[in-house]
């Protein structure tokens, strides 16, 4: 499976794209394939202050519940409202329309993995 090179990754299978001080956060294709069909997602409300590695939401599939951790520090400025009606978008477009929330970051993210590093990590988990 292809891992977009322009994104940063966490070991907990989130991806991050920082642009103009705003980080878009989602979960990786590896995560969605491990979870199966996603049927419910909960993301932090707009205005929530999040910090690194905070459990800020949940993704539920047919068989499992997983926490979403914030890979960045800052304030949530936008959430992907279309996921309430169509959580399956996370399966079909994890790096696109299936993004979860956006954070105006107060610190540059540190410790993110490159696509290559993340790919190595997930190969170890397979």
């Amino acid at each position: 499976m292809s891992v977009p090179t322009e994104l940063g990754y966490t070991a907990k299978h989130e991806w991050v794209l920082v642009k103009d001080g705003v980080a878009t956060v989602g979960i990786t294709s590896f995560a969605t394939e491990a979870l199966g069909d996603i049927v419910f997602v909960e993301v932090p409300e707009v205005g929530t202050e999040v910090t690194l590695d905070d459990p800020v939401g949940e993704v539920e599939s047919t068989k499992s519940v997983s926490d979403i951790y914030s890979p960045v520090k800052g304030e949530v400025v936008e959430i992907n409202e279309s996921l309430e009606d169509s959580p399956e978008t996370i399966n079909s477009a994890p790096y696109g329309d299936g993004w979860l929330f956006r954070v105006r970051i107060s610190e540059d993210p540190t410790g993110l993995l490159s696509a290559e590093e993340y790919t190595k990590l997930t190969e170890g988990e397979e």
Binding site: G36, V39, E42, E60, K63
Partner: protein, 370 residues
């Protein structure tokens, strides 16, 4: 097949599943397909077209001999000596205390021959309990689980996909009947049974190795009729929608068939059988609990072991819960006190500290048009 105690066993179809990209999980000591792609798509395919399941993890135990029918009546709660040759019964094996040891389908293959199909997790228990209960009877109990593969084709198009591949006239095989036939040229026991709430067939293949020929013939025949391979995840949501109990969830040694609302399976009109005393008593008493259906008003899935509350007071525990692809809302089954008034009050399920509003609904959640 792998026999190491640490490694899960694999079925004859293991390589077929792997090359189809299945996600495999350890289920009752067997490495089985959980799903091949989207489990929701597999579920819908079974409701609308057809799905193909590998159920080779299930146990097949043969009881044969001049007193086979007497053993069956003695060992199970059903009146199995009355089952006609070629027909099947859903029945239960209980302990002397009436607690359920397994729920299973029993096929009468001949005057003196039965095949009991046990849940994978209970196959060894069923085989040893039956052997014990057959002592003193002129009958043999043989655990043939490792000799069999079991393939199920389920869904409204199952019959039309299967028909060209079998010598059987499928119109002659009624629900809960099973006969010796061929499928893809292989001799099998072909039964019209299932665990999905749809029409469908279960194909018992012995020797087990022939399963790959049957699987690929069915997949080929069904390719343009919507047939897809389906895994345990879809199987679980399908049976839950159909209101069918799962051993280990709705059924356990702590519960009698009456508790599970399946007292009709206990045939007290027959002679002595194991568990009779306890079950006779259970049949006279008011049932302490009953199984209810719940459908959520929200989207968050309901799960096994969550608490159900009425007006904020805990009244029971969920035995199964999942998103229902057919209803488009989360569903669950739960045991509650049989006296509980479910017609009034506000029902919620505690989902990790949050009260999700649910409706008490009639079981089953789904019933096909017949």
């Amino acid at each position: 097949m792998s026999e190491s105690p640490d490694e899960p066993r694999t079925t004859v179809l293991h390589d077929v599943h792997e090359s189809a990209g299945a996600t495999l999980v350890d289920f009752a000591g067997w490495l089985m397909p959980l799903r091949y792609g989207s489990e929701t798509a597999e579920h819908k395919a079974v409701r609308e077209a057809a799905g193909l399941f590998d159920l080779s993890h299930m146990g097949e135990i043969r009881v044969s001999g001049p007193q086979a029918a007497a053993v069956m009546d003695h060992a199970f709660v059903g009146f199995l000596s009355k089952v006609k040759i070629g027909r099947a019964r859903y029945t239960m094996l209980t302990g002397t205390d009436g607690g359920v040891l397994d729920d299973l389908i029993v096929y009468r293959l001949g005057e003196d021959e039965y095949l009991a199909v046990a849940n994978a997790a209970n196959a060894d228990v069923v085989a040893s309990v039956l052997a014990e209960r057959a002592e003193g009877f002129d009958a043999r109990v043989e655990d043939e689980s490792s000799q069999y593969s079991l393939i199920a084709i389920q869904g409204p198009r199952a019959a039309e996909i299967l028909a060209p591949l079998t010598d059987a006239d499928l119109g002659e095989i009624r629900y809960y009947a099973g006969y010796e036939h061929t499928v893809a040229g292989v001799p099998v026991l072909l039964a019209r049974t299932g665990y999905t709430g749809e029409d469908g067939f279960e194909i018992f293949v012995k020797p087990a190795e022939h399963a790959t020929d049957i699987w690929s013939a069915l997949m080929e025949q069904g390719a343009d009729r919507g047939l897809v391979p389906a895994g345990l995840s879809a199987r679980d949501t399908l049976r839950l929608e159909a209101g069918m109990p799962l051993y280990g969830q709705e059924l356990s040694p702590e519960l009698t068939p009456y508790d599970a609302g399946l007292g009709r399976l206990v045939k007290l009109e027959k002679d002595e059988f194991v568990g009779r005393h306890a079950l006779e008593e259970a049949s006279r008493n008011t049932r302490p609990r009953r199984l209810i259906g719940l459908a959520s008003r929200g989207r968050r899935p309901l799960r096994k072991d969550q608490q159900v509350l009425r007006d904020g007071e805990p009244v029971g525990t969920l035995t199964s819960g999942a998103p229902s692809p057919t209803l488009g809302r989360p569903i669950a089954m739960a045991y509650v006190d049989s006296e509980l008034d479910t017609a009034t009050g506000v029902f919620t399920v505690d989902v990790r500290g949050r009260g999700e509003a649910v409706d008490v609904v009639e079981l089953p959640f789904y019933q096909r048009d017949t």
